[in-house]
């Protein structure tokens, strides 16, 4: 793996043995705490987990459990207040400015509301995934390198949008827009994918198609996935590992196969049905 050397280095820096076990976690989160304001409520109250390079890991839990906050901490769209996040062997919280941008371009992210630029073409939206690797001069004139354009075309074909390349993003349907979002994230050649409720804005049938597509592409490009998802059934179908959250605490962590009904009941215990 590309990040392996970084992890060994990072573990050495933190005083840990480089190859203690066969699997080194891509992402290692320790005692993560977040509150948005210094006097406000604590959203995450000490979360520990790690993601391996073969994981397709789902974070489930009732609304307000802190799933979205957890995912957004990994690429620092949300600033953690306490704890450690070690990604590819780098301490995410210590990075600033250009270092953070360099880390972010190795992380693909797919959003609930797609977050495409509506007044830009599908092609430009996909190409914008490469911005982190594109110099100021090239990006100013939208002169992306030939191989980026080829990759964008290939990915658009892969997600089934080869006939919509020049359409404006807001001319597409919800499912198609999310496919653009997937292509944009894969343009980065990400080493981890973060999915923030990727299917909540879609209908059940399309949700399954989109999740299936993400699963397929993640396997193909060998990218670990950390996914926060509302639909428990869908999570159990697509993911191999489940993290259950409730009110800022981790309540469950294990393979999706071994999950029992009472585990789910415990996670969702506080939700008023």
């Amino acid at each position: 793996m590309r990040h392996e050397a970084g992890i060994v280095e990072g573990r050495a820096r933190r005083g840990l043995p480089g190859h203690e076990e066969n699997r080194v976690p891509v992402l290692d989160v320790r005692n993560l705490k977040v509150s948005y304001t210094s006097s406000g409520p604590q959203i995450l109250k000490g979360i520990d987990f790690s993601v391996d390079d073969s994981d397709f890991c789902a974070v489930i839990g009732p609304s307000g459990a802190g799933k979205s906050t957890l995912i957004r901490c990994v690429n620092r769209l949300v600033e953690p207040t306490e704890g450690d996040i070690v990604l590819f062997g780098q301490n995410v919280r210590a990075l600033r400015g250009g270092e953070l941008r360099h880390l972010r371009r190795r992380i693909g992210m797919i959003f609930q509301e797609f977050n495409l630029v509506n007044r830009m073409s599908v092609m430009d939206n996909v190409l914008s995934g490469r911005l982190g690797y594109t110099g100021a001069f090239r990006s100013f004139f939208k002169a992306f390198p030939r191989e980026d354009i080829d990759r964008a075309l290939h990915l658009l074909e892969r997600v089934g949008l080869q006939d919509h390349v020049d359409k404006r993003a807001d001319a597409l349907s919800g499912g198609q827009r999310q496919r653009v979002g997937i292509a944009r994230a894969l343009m980065q050649k990400p080493e981890i994918l973060l999915l923030d409720e990727p299917t909540s804005a879609l209908d059940p049938k399309i949700s399954r198609d989109v999740m299936g597509l993400i699963r397929e592409l993640a396997d193909e490009f060998k990218v670990p996935v950390l996914c926060n998802i509302h639909d428990v059934q869908l999570a159990l179908e697509t993911c191999n590992r489940i993290i259950g959250m409730q009110d800022g605490y981790k309540k469950f962590d294990g393979p999706s196969k071994g999950m029992r009904k009472q585990d789910l009941d415990e996670i969702y215990a506080m939700e008023v049905l």
Binding site: L77, N115, V117, L131, A136, F140, Q188
Partner: protein, 279 residues
Amino acid sequence: MTVVTAETVAAPRKSWSRYRHPEATIRFAVMLAVLAFLGWSIAFLNIDLSRVLGAFPRLAEILATRYFPPDLGYVTDADFIRSVIRTLEMSLLGGFLGVVCSIPLAWLAARNITIGRRIAYPFGRFAIMGSRSIHETIWTILFVTVLGFGMLAGTLALTVFCIGFAGKLFADELEAIDMGPVEAMRSVGASPLQVFQYAVLPQVRVAFTGIAIYTWDVAFRAATVVGFFGGGGMGWYLKRTTQQLESQRVAAILLVIIALVLLAEIGSGWLRRKIAAMR
């Protein structure tokens, strides 16, 4: 499952009134105070209603006897027409420079996407507010004293005026954008300039074009006055004729200004509607 217990059920409400004691009373008192202040200022300034009403017949009389008929020969003179064209040039140049300068300032002054909340944001806000708070005629006088009479002073005064005018509108527009794409561009590792170009500009391009045209419209109106204080253009003719008490010529110039401003407004309104349809 939550169990519904006796405590969780509130007693049903029997009465409801739109007017609740502290809020409604305070609102009423404030309104009363404002009215009392208005009445007091009218009394203090000793405004005589009969004098106010008497002004209109007198105005009509002066217009009819001294300003009529307007000296149209004066405004069709080649020199005057050249000054009108200069006024137009000044407004275009001032508007263009103002819009160009105000876009980066508006970027700094938009709270949601500013580069830094501690230094950049107050700087952008202050620059725009400073340009706005001083009237364009004062800017003209300032630039004329520094640079001397002529179109340079007028153009710079209009530029500063447009920075204040367009900058405020641009910043408001920027603060209303959808932050989703901004978040997405930040998360792919784009630099602040790339985020601005790829996530912010596409959202505001149409609105910015409309605002730029509107800014030119307002700048043109201001440009007719700028000359009055030595900034160049047709305002100078207005000053000369008023000081020479050539009332019929003044009337002709005022008519030209009204016609041109009307034309500019109709033209810019038409263009802005066209652009708004492109959204």
